[in-house]
């Protein structure tokens, strides 16, 4: 039997709950306010500390010859000020080069920051490991690449991401293989960061990429094709052509077509044209039509002109845009198509207007 609950108990409970909720809300609001105030105070304190030593840093970076007095002043800065100044110093590395950069690296070495970072990559705190990786990527030097490569296998995703970025910044060819293997591992490294890093490394990244073109995993092969396009090595065009021709995965073929467009190798034009055939998957046809525009080959013009009349809207639209990119033959073909009637004429007119607008935007003040 369910015992009846008196209305007065209900009311009391409700009041207690409301008071508790109000107390929690007030406490939360206070915590937020105090937190914000504390952040403002620490930011202001940090800014004051930085301001006290920053003029010397600027003098060190901009000075004609490394002024020993300035260097000694910075080396003698108290630890609290240096903790505030160190991020500003590291940021300088990305803004200057030559003697100015050498002077900053020298300062970081004398302050022990580089040595601390070398030790920091082994620390338990993920924040310290990430910060150390960032500093090592900015400074470079012997042993740096090896330490950063080790961090590619870190248990923390953020640390792995910072390590990839740092390796891209160093652009040391020694790290190319490790970065490519990063695409193959489970869980993989952040794909877009690896791509950017490989792009920064350039042609030195090609051999490990070529070694991975036969991997069983479709996604890995697709990423390898994409990376080859980003690296831009013309010599890899035949490999990409084979991927485009015979790979069983549409994704791989699609990225190979895009890569060929990016590389701009004339040897690939016929195969990219073949990929626009109506027998091919739609996504591949669209990408191949786009790649033909990027290739800029005149012999692709009649093919693209035919595709502007394709019954599939997206194929026709992309083909028209690609024709607009091939000057002067593509634009002439578009102009002829625009004078006719039907959907091809509409696509051609739209592409011409878009191309003109783009040209105008480049010359007219926004």
């Amino acid at each position: 039997m369910i015992s009846p609950v008196s209305p007065s108990v209900d009311r009391d409970l409700l009041i207690v709950a409301a008071v508790c909720l109000a107390v929690v809300l007030v406490a939360l609001a206070l915590a937020v306010l105090v937190g914000r105030w504390w952040l403002r105070v620490t930011d202001a304190r940090r800014a004051r500390l930085v301001a006290s030593a920053r003029p010397w840093l600027v003098q060190l970076v901009a000075g004609d010859d490394e002024d020993p007095v300035v260097v000694e002043r910075l080396v003698a800065v108290d630890p609290r000020t240096w903790r505030a100044l160190e991020p500003v110093t590291v940021a300088m590395l990305g803004k200057v080069r030559g003697e100015a950069r050498t002077a900053v690296v020298g300062l970081l070495e004398r302050r022990g920051s580089v040595e601390r970072a070398m030790r920091g990559v082994h620390r338990r705190s993920a924040v310290v490991r990430a910060r150390s990786a960032h500093l090592l990527g900015a400074v470079g030097g012997p042993g740096t690449t090896a330490q950063l490569v080790r961090l590619l296998g870190d248990r923390d995703l953020e640390v792995r991401a910072v390590a990839v970025r740092a390796l891209g910044r160093l652009a040391d060819p020694m790290s190319a293989t490790a970065l490519v293997h990063g695409l193959l591992r489970t869980p993989p490294l952040p794909h877009h960061l690896v791509m950017a890093a490989l792009r920064q490394i350039g042609p030195a990244a090609v051999p490990p990429l070529l070694a991975a073109v036969d991997r069983a995993d479709d996604l890995v092969r697709a990423q390898v094709a994409e990376a080859l396009g980003l690296v831009g090595a013309v010599a890899t065009a035949p490999v990409l052509v084979v991927m485009l021709r015979i790979d069983h995965s549409t994704e791989v073929r699609l990225r190979a077509a895009r890569a060929l467009g990016r590389i701009g190798a004339p040897v690939s034009v016929d195969d990219v044209i073949a990929a626009t055939s109506a027998r091919e998957p739609l996504a591949l046809r669209v990408t191949a039509a786009e790649a033909l525009g990027a290739l800029g080959a005149r012999r692709a013009v009649p093919v693209l002109a035919d595709l502007v009349g394709d019954p599939v809207h997206w194929v026709a639209h992309t083909a028209a845009a690609s024709l607009a990119a091939i000057r002067p033959d593509g634009v002439a073909a578009l102009t002829r198509l625009a004078g006719r009637s039907g959907s091809a004429a509409r696509h051609a007119q739209e592409a011409l207007v878009a191309a003109n607008a783009k040209r105008l935007l480049a010359t007219v003040r926004p």
Partner: protein
């Protein structure tokens, strides 16, 4: 004294450039954005302007174009400072009459050499 107008929204770059130019004997005017740089150029008529490409309110390219469009400021030589990723902007900069460009990360010493060279060319 030769006056150089320096415009960059990055305080580190700005301070380094200003220090280096002052150390080399130039009188330096400083702006933190494009619109201020343009106003300062019209008021003070500097001998040369060093403009960052990516700035708030008005880009370095816009400032360059405005300088070239007005008769009074058309002859002020312009050096553009650009990130490597924006090097395609340099083409647009030359179209609008920029005299030289420098990519970031930059060498302060090289910047002064470029300023000297552009000034020498413009005075010939």
């Amino acid at each position: 004294m030769t006056t150089v107008l320096v415009a960059d929204d990055d305080a580190d770059v700005r301070d380094v450039v200003v220090f280096k130019l002052e150390q080399s004997g130039y009188d330096v005017l400083v702006a933190e954005d494009g619109a201020t740089a343009l106003a300062m150029a019209r008021d003070a008529m500097p001998d040369i302007a060093v403009l960052d490409v990516m700035m708030p309110r008005m880009t370095g390219l816009d400032v360059c174009r405005e300088l070239r469009a007005a008769e009074a400021t058309a002859a002020i030589p312009v050096i553009l400072l650009t990130a490597r990723a924006q090097e395609s902007d340099v083409e647009g900069g030359f179209d609008w009459g920029a005299d030289d460009y420098l990519t970031k990360p930059f060498s302060p010493r090289e910047l002064v050499s470029r300023v000297r060279a552009v000034l020498a060319r413009s005075r010939r």
